[in-house]
């Protein structure tokens, strides 16, 4: 059974966002998403300094089954990327909400976070895809 931590916000497209309280968020893919994708073999991250729009594809994760675009949950500037994933994409499988984070965004419009789902809402999305 996948984890759905309640302190996080979620996108329907299976990203999570953690509000760091200083106008930045940390972004990754959910435990459910990594479980569906299977073992990751490659992660393509954005560049620090890139500007992104909410809902814009800005990274790619590739597993033995499929390659999936990752959409930024909020608009702003990429201020950090988890470059360790270049060597160790398996961290996303092992710790989707922890060491497997993808990138951090300095938000230009923090109100966009309100458009995201809470843990219950996302759990329903994940469950509906099982059918």
């Amino acid at each position: 059974m996948s984890d759905f931590p309640t302190e996080l916000k979620y996108a329907k497209t299976h990203e999570w966002a953690r509000d760091e309280g200083d106008g930045t968020i940390t972004v990754g893919i959910t435990d459910h998403a990594q479980d569906q994708l299977g073992d990751l073999v490659f992660v393509d991250l954005p560049e620090e300094g890139d500007s992104v729009e909410a809902g814009e594809d800005c990274a790619v994760v590739e597993s033995v089954k499929a390659a999936s675009d990752i959409y930024s949950p909020a608009s702003g500037e990429i201020i950090a990327v988890n470059s360790v994933l270049g060597e160790s994409p398996e961290l996303v499988n092992e710790s989707a909400f922890g060491d497997g984070w993808l990138f951090k965004v300095k938000m230009s419009n923090p109100a966009e976070l309100d458009n995201l789902l809470d843990a219950n809402g996302y759990q329903e999305v994940a469950a509906s895809e099982e059918h």
Partner: protein
Amino acid sequence: MVLIQEQSRAGRRSSAQAPLQEVEATSIPEQFRRKSRPALPEVSEMQVVRHYTRLSQKNFSIDTHFYPLGSCTMKYNPRGCNSLAMLPGFLGRHPEAPENHSQGFLACMHDLQETLKEVTGMRAVCLSPAAGSQGEFAGVAMIRAYHDARGDTARSEILVPDAAHGTNPASAVMCGYKVREIPTGLDGDMDVEALKQALGPQTAGIMLTNPSTLGVFDRRIGEIAKLVHEAGGLLYYDGANLNAILGKVRPGDMGFDVIHINLHKTFSTPHGGGGPGAGPVGVSARLEPYLPVPMVEKDGTNYRWLTERDRPETIGRLSAFAGNAGILLRAFVYARMIGREGMARVAEYSTLNANYMLKRLQKAGFEAAYPERRATHEFIITLRREARTLGVNTMDYAKRLLDYGFHAPTTYFPLLVPECLLIEPTESEDKETLDAFLEALITIEEEAESDPDLVKGAPHSLPVKRLDDVRAARELDLAWRPGADQEAD
């Protein structure tokens, strides 16, 4: 298995493969001539024969095994098509030979163009795209040329259903379009309400496969065509699943403006190793000026090439000469061999075989992805229950099928259905073969319950066991490396 390079011994040679005479490459400019000898293996003729015979025996192929690879239409490649396409007059014809020396070949190509026009219901056909992907590229490029010629340049989006082959959005992006995804309803048909929301002045067109990759025929295609045309967009037909409707329903009659046909699938030319393919394109009247070149025209009793001179609005050329001539010839022979009635039988038997297999698997307890729908020429079962309760997943079933002497069906595609197998038997197979495959799947289901590790460790009987596909992708072992090309000189 020893590589042929590893069998090499200095000075050993096979005179059968040696040139008949010494060739002086004086016409090649100095800077393009290689400075060292090519690293070819030095082996005897018998070593070559044994090596490649053994290699071919390690493969699963349509000549040796049932090959129900969904979406790929791995039907029998009739020997008659091969032998006729290999007549000396065809084999020896140089692609630059003048038209008056190529009338036989051109007549065959013209006949194939006419046959494809008629069976798809399109106004004109060009044979030259050398693969389905090239056909798609040509098709979308023609959509673009059409809008551009009308000054209708604000159309920036191509709509693609979420069930589509990945090549569809790729082709649209290659032609400079943005892709918007249209969801599929629970019954497997396109969500027409979502389509209505997505259509607008920015819509350049829609790319559809019908029957879709979900193995069902979209029943609302007439309505979809009307909606897209009303919005000013064009309809692209991906011919991947043409086998199911060949000689029965014509994409042109469904309202499509452009289509590509995979001759290597529907018209039975050999494929499976990545080529060679043939992806002719057909168009409705309004796209006719933009067709690629060359095409073949019948001028009285003579045949001639149509080129850029004859067709100034063409999107251009997609391959050297006219595509894969040998493949086009095989498809031509196939079409003439089975004829109009044979084409309808292709559709009838490929769908009958698929529906027979689906029903038997359902009776045996397998879960159909779209149980309320009739299958087309292929169908999807989902092993999500087995994966959840037994811990044995679709890839394990696929690998175990190899032990039973069957090429596995397509796995994990389409992405919409979890733990899926996409099974396409084609019309070529007899009932005994279908039954043997079904028995194997049913046996594997029993094994998954009684001895899951047996299935999870499969294959057991093949020269290569289960590959570590994660490690293979993470730690690439490639002979090529940057700069290797230069070093070899």
